[in-house]
């Protein structure tokens, strides 16, 4: 131990603490009086509570104690805890379908049972299998078989009816028996099975059943003029049924029943206009126009003062929903509530997406792909309560705690410890709710921006586009590479390499698309192939992070010119992603920018930038004071 000179202040033990949306990070270091830093340990834990609220104290203390334990120091030795001033933004998400397919009368069964029977097209009148005996010969019949019929009995009944002269041209079954029945028929007909709501199929109506050969899709019922031919429709009626044809496209089997008042509507819900106030202008854009058009207008209204949606339309509802959520987050017990009208939306990211939605009025759980728009919105808040968190941390630890600096600036400071970087340096913090950029010029000037949309939006897009309905599964698809289990002992990775395993793979992942989590392969509950899942994942990341990286960097770059940037360092949780950094680097490469994932302190990767930046800023301050004293 160096003896402490009583005339000079000794080396001080300080902890930088960064409370983020999802993780809390600590950086423990000894700062010498002249400002040199010796890093001792870092730690990382989950953030407790919503960022910027007193609930954060628990996580902050845990991270501090974790770092202390690693360095073998005690809480009593800590001189100062430095906390970040939280980025003054919170973000919200909303998603709305802008089309909806409704079958107002039971007219269509367009599902894909895995094993339909027979092949071809059969057109006739729907009759229950129970009344087949009373049927007069001659008229073509589509036989409807309810639940509870055994395949041998179905086949025997159909064979008997055909022998008696009844012209059975097709069958619709409730159970999974189509192949079994077809194999036992003397005269082959197309059979569609697994129609769960078979009792809703109207009887005595003209119906068409089509089954394509394996590997093929139906040709007649997915074609508007095919439907017109089968049902002898006039041009007006043909126009009405065209959504049916569209909804059946790509199926291997389908049933269409013509009911007198039947109607499938492809309703376009009024989406409404987004009204953007900013840069002294008020600009309007129809959300129907799509994400690209919206983002172009958002770009012209920068910096945005507020965004509103037309009341009574979808976009009005979406933005109101975002505002309400944010008002709840900002409310502080004991203080007056934040009026919703005062919440100004400072950035919007629009993303085109599609949502597989169950068709209302369908008989077999038919699914139609509906267009949708996802909006991420960001709001500024002045109500950070980090000072309160600092007071609580101080109390809990028995050491002084203070707000050490603003997040963006601190992140740049931490990023500068990455080997190989220099000023001018820009950091991109790829977070959960927002994507943040900060630029430190050669002269030491720092500017920071926050744009809406980040990891949470990616998860949401994956979840809805794959119809997973499970956020955790969607997170898995986002975080881990995919594979396909090809046998009990080998799996093919998404890059095509095949891995042999020593222990047999579980039957529940057999032949499935899986995400390769550290705990082993986990199935992705989808009928889509690996390539489709991979495309959805990469597109979601590109539409959010690549778009936002460019948007945010243009806002900090001098004159909006990306060529003026030299070093871009990626930070934050999503910088740990296995492909996002590469996607951003690819997008920036044409601008002559060096871009890569940060390696804070040369050891921490993209983590701990803000915490280390806090320590650096504090050390610089101490050095400055020391210089002043020595003069």
């Amino acid at each position: 131990m160096t003896p402490v000179d009583p005339g000079r202040s000794p080396a001080r033990l300080v902890v930088g603490v960064d409370i983020g949306n999802s993780t809390t990070e600590a950086c423990l270091a000894v700062v010498a009086p002249e400002g040199s830093i010796t890093h001792l340990a870092t730690d990382l834990t989950r953030t407790t509570g919503v960022k910027g609220t007193p609930d954060n104290t628990e996580g902050a203390l845990k991270a501090i104690r974790g770092a202390l334990a690693r360095a073998g120091r005690s809480a009593g030795q800590v001189e100062t805890v430095l906390l970040n001033e939280a980025t003054p933004v919170i973000s919200g998400l909303a998603m709305e379908t802008i089309t909806e397919t409704i079958i107002t009368e039971s007219t269509m069964i367009g599902h894909n049972p895995t094993t339909p029977g027979g092949e071809g097209l059969g057109v006739g009148t729907t009759r229950s299998i129970g009344e087949l005996g009373e049927q007069q010969p001659g008229e073509p019949v589509v036989c409807v078989v309810p639940h509870g019929w055994d395949f041998d009995d179905v086949a025997a009944t159909l064979n008997a009816a055909v022998a008696a002269g009844v012209d059975v041209v097709a069958a619709i079954l409730a159970g999974d028996d189509a192949v079994l029945v077809t194999n036992r028929l003397e005269r082959p007909i197309p059979v569609v099975d697994e129609v769960s709501a078979v009792e809703k199929v109207p009887l005595g109506m003209l119906a068409a059943v089509e089954v394509a050969a394996p590997g093929r899709t139906i040709r007649t019922l997915s074609n508007s003029y095919g439907l017109a031919t089968v049902f002898e429709l006039d041009p007006v009626q043909t126009r009405q049924v065209s959504p049916v044809a569209r909804a059946l496209t790509g199926n291997r089997s389908a049933v269409v029943v013509r009911t007198p008042t039947g109607d499938v509507t492809d309703r376009r819900i009024p989406v409404g206009e987004l009204v953007l106030h900013g840069a002294g202008k008020t600009l309007r854009v129809d959300v129907d126009a799509g994400a690209e058009a919206i983002m172009e207008v958002v770009g012209r209204a920068q910096p945005l003062d507020d965004a509103r949606g037309e009341p009574g339309t979808h976009v009005g509802g979406m933005l109101a929903q975002v505002r309400d959520t944010m008002a709840d987050v900002m409310d502080i017990a004991g203080q007056p509530d934040v009026p919703v009208s005062e919440i100004a939306i400072r950035d919007v990211l629009a993303v085109d997406t599609f949502v597989p939605a169950e068709v209302r009025g369908g008989l077999a759980g038919e699914v139609a792909l509906e267009n949708a728009v996802a909006l991420a919105a960001m709001v500024r808040t002045s109500r950070s309560r980090m000072q309160l968190v600092a007071d609580l941390v101080s109390e809990g630890l028995g050491a002084a705690a203070e707000i050490g600096g603003v997040e963006g600036e601190m992140a740049v400071g931490g990023a500068l410890t990455t080997p190989g970087v220099d000023r001018p340096i820009a950091v991109l913090d790829l977070g959960g709710g927002s994507t943040d950029a900060a630029l430190l010029t050669r002269e030491g000037e720092c500017t920071a921006v926050h744009v809406a949309g980040a990891g949470e939006l990616v998860t949401k897009l994956i979840d809805s586009e794959l119809a997973l309905g499970d956020r955790d599964v969607a997170e898995g698809v986002k975080w881990f590479p995919l594979g396909k289990v090809e046998s009990f002992f080998h799996l093919r990775h998404e890059d095509g390499t095949v891995e042999f395993v020593d222990q047999p793979l579980s039957p529940h992942v057999f032949a499935r698309v899986v995400v390769l989590t550290p705990d082993g392969p986990a199935p992705v509950p989808t009928r889509h192939g690996l390539d489709h899942v991979r495309r959805v994942r990469r597109e979601a990341k590109r539409r959010v992070f690549v778009v936002n990286a460019l948007r945010a960097l243009r806002q900090v770059a001098p004159g909006g010119n990306l060529r003026a940037l030299e070093f871009v360092v990626l930070l934050g949780g999503s910088a740990l992603d296995f492909e996002i950094p590469d996607m951003i680097a690819d997008a920036l490469a044409p601008h002559g920018i060096v871009c890569g994932t940060g390696n804070v302190l040369g050891t921490e990767g993209p983590r701990n930038a803000v915490a280390s930046g806090l320590v650096r800023a504090h050390a610089a301050l101490l050095a400055e004071e020391a210089r002043c004293r020595s003069r």
Binding site: T114, T115, D176, L180, E486, P504, P507, A511
Partner: protein
């Protein structure tokens, strides 16, 4: 009338080893499950052991598709693959199984052959 027992033919098939005490309905539904998926089955009567998993394992070893089904006197159906250890079958019907469980066992065997997800 008992289901007809087929002799292993020249084409590859899912092999079903049936204990003589197996209820006829079990064999019928299991074979229907395989047939609905478009895969052939061959059935062999095997006197013992009276244990569906052991029978399935033996059948999978003999089947040229590597997939076997064992049916025992209690009405249990087990599905096995030639590469798996004997005590870890692909699937087995629960106690108190009903016709849909037996059908599912056949379906699973066929889907192992076809390399399709089993559920």
């Amino acid at each position: 009338m008992p289901e007809q027992v087929t002799v292993p033919g020249p084409r590859p098939a899912v092999l079903v080893y049936r204990h003589p005490g197996t209820p006829a309905a079990v064999l019928r539904q299991v074979r229907a499950g395989v047939e609905e998926e478009g895969v052939p089955t061959d059935v062999v009567d095997v006197p013992g052991p009276d244990d569906a998993t052991a029978l399935a394992h033996a059948a999978a070893g003999e089947s040229r598709l590597g997939v076997g089904i064992g049916l025992d006197a209690s009405g249990t159906a087990a599905v096995h693959h030639g590469t798996l250890p004997e005590r870890t079958p692909v699937a087995a019907t629960p106690a108190e199984a009903d016709p849909s469980d037996w059908r599912r066992a056949g379906r699973i065997a066929a889907r192992v052959v076809k390399h399709l997800p089993l559920a």
